[in-house]
Subunit: 234 residues, 2 copies
DNA sequence: TATATCTATTTGTATAGTCAAAAGCGGAGC
DNA sequence: GCTCCGCTTTTGACTATACAAATAGATATA
């Protein structure tokens, strides 16, 4: 493994593991060069690559800092709903419909590849944009990965946003599907039973452990994902 | 603009414009270094960045080549269906349901931001995976951007694949929605009227001109988009 | 013929430096 | 107080060079 790659992955690991948090200053180039016994060019290459990936921000004279989690880097990088809603200039609020601490069932445990007796916080939450139901959020938070969730009521901060603060960087897997609204879903979303809904499932890991598993169900007539792509990205 | 950036964008432009096509060999580093009157390091940096973006492939001794259009770089980078199907080991075939040359209507022209009288090839196509209908493809190909489409029957090659050969690199905008199947759609997809369907709309440009606009409608119970993300990507 | 070896080419990584641009900081002068 | 000037730190871009690794193609050998 090259020095450049070692620096890259070391810094990346520190950020993803939460060791270095958004806003933290990371050592300046000559310090890392001394630490890794290499030239400044090599460090510079690693940090520039991290900057290009959006993990750090670099500023002359002041240094390099861990970036805030990326918003909207790709379409799939769908952020917490309230952030999205605010960005677009809409009024967003949410209601906690259910909140309980329990242990994972056998079927779910298998689905998440987590032990069956793992303690989790199960949340159900309704998001309302401009006065209309916009999404049901069904979420599982692994309490051994995020113990502080046990004492959080989520009365004033949506779970997605709260988790973004707690666990800013992570690895995620997404699935997008179209599903028909069942009776309960239709009632909550104030739509028809059988209405086409867009379902986004996201499982998030940190250090190989599941942090959270969430399914957003959006009424098909009120929501879509969109994005522009370009080979060059950015 | 730095030399590094100039090389990067110059090469990128040549690829996206179709000047250099997939498989083409691009000048070796010392040639570009001579052309741009810079050191090989600078060229190397630019080409490495392009390689990281997946636009070129670099091999020692043999040189650097324009890559094949990226498959599966992000979830949104959903490729031509037959390619996807083959990759997953499924049997794929397709039928052309309709094919006609006409001029864009007022409403559509506005939607595509193209002149209302533009000549287009309108296609409707059914994709069948493992014997079951998997998607309806409704496509518009701009004939002034891709004149050769006029003489192509698409009997043996699906339009998406054909376009990928014609116009390998492009800029694209995607929209994902959930929609209910209307009567026609349901009949073609052999599903129920009202069934939740996943709709993927993609508009593709090259050199600022629309190349194609396509909507894929998948039965919700037979299709999903999935992908893993990671701050580092790759 | 088949296989092993050599050679030339091209990319990959790294060094040790230079100069420049950005920007925070402190002090001089008003 | 405020503004301007210069100093310093840090990143950014670049050079010229070196050597290593991969490998296609030619050559030599069994």
């Amino acid at each position: 493994m090259s020095i450049y790659q070692r620096i890259f992955t070391d810094v990346e690991t520190k950020i993803i593991s939460g060791d270095w948090r958004p806003g933290d200053r990371i050592p300046v180039e000559h310090e890392l060069a001394a630490e890794y016994r290499c030239s400044r060019m090599t460090v510079s290459k690693a940090l520039s690559a991290l900057a290009e990936r959006g993990m750090i921000v670099r500023r002359r004279k002041t240094g390099s800092f861990v970036a805030s989690p990326q918003i909207d880097r790709t379409v799939m990088d769908i952020q917490d709903i309230s952030t999205e809603a605010e960005l677009a200039g809409h009024e967003h609020r949410f209601e906690i419909l259910a909140r309980k601490v329990e242990r994972l069932g056998e079927a779910e445990a298998q689905q998440l590849s987590e032990p069956a007796d793992a303690e989790v916080l199960r949340l159900q939450c309704l998001h309302i944009v401009d006065g209309r139901p916009n999404a049901i959020e069904r979420r599982i938070i692994m309490l051994d990965a995020v113990p502080r969730a046990r004492d959080e009521s989520f009365a004033s901060i949506p779970p997605g946003k709260w988790l973004l603060d707690e666990v800013p960087w992570s690895k995620a897997k997404h699935i997008i599907r179209a599903v028909s609204a069942d009776t309960t879903t239709a009632r909550i979303l104030q739509t028809e039973r059988g209405e086409a809904c867009l379902s986004l499932i996201r499982q998030t890991w940190q250090n190989g452990r599941t942090v959270t598993y969430v399914e957003f169900t959006h009424p098909g007539d009120r929501f879509q994902f969109a994005g522009t792509f370009h080979p060059m990205a950015n």
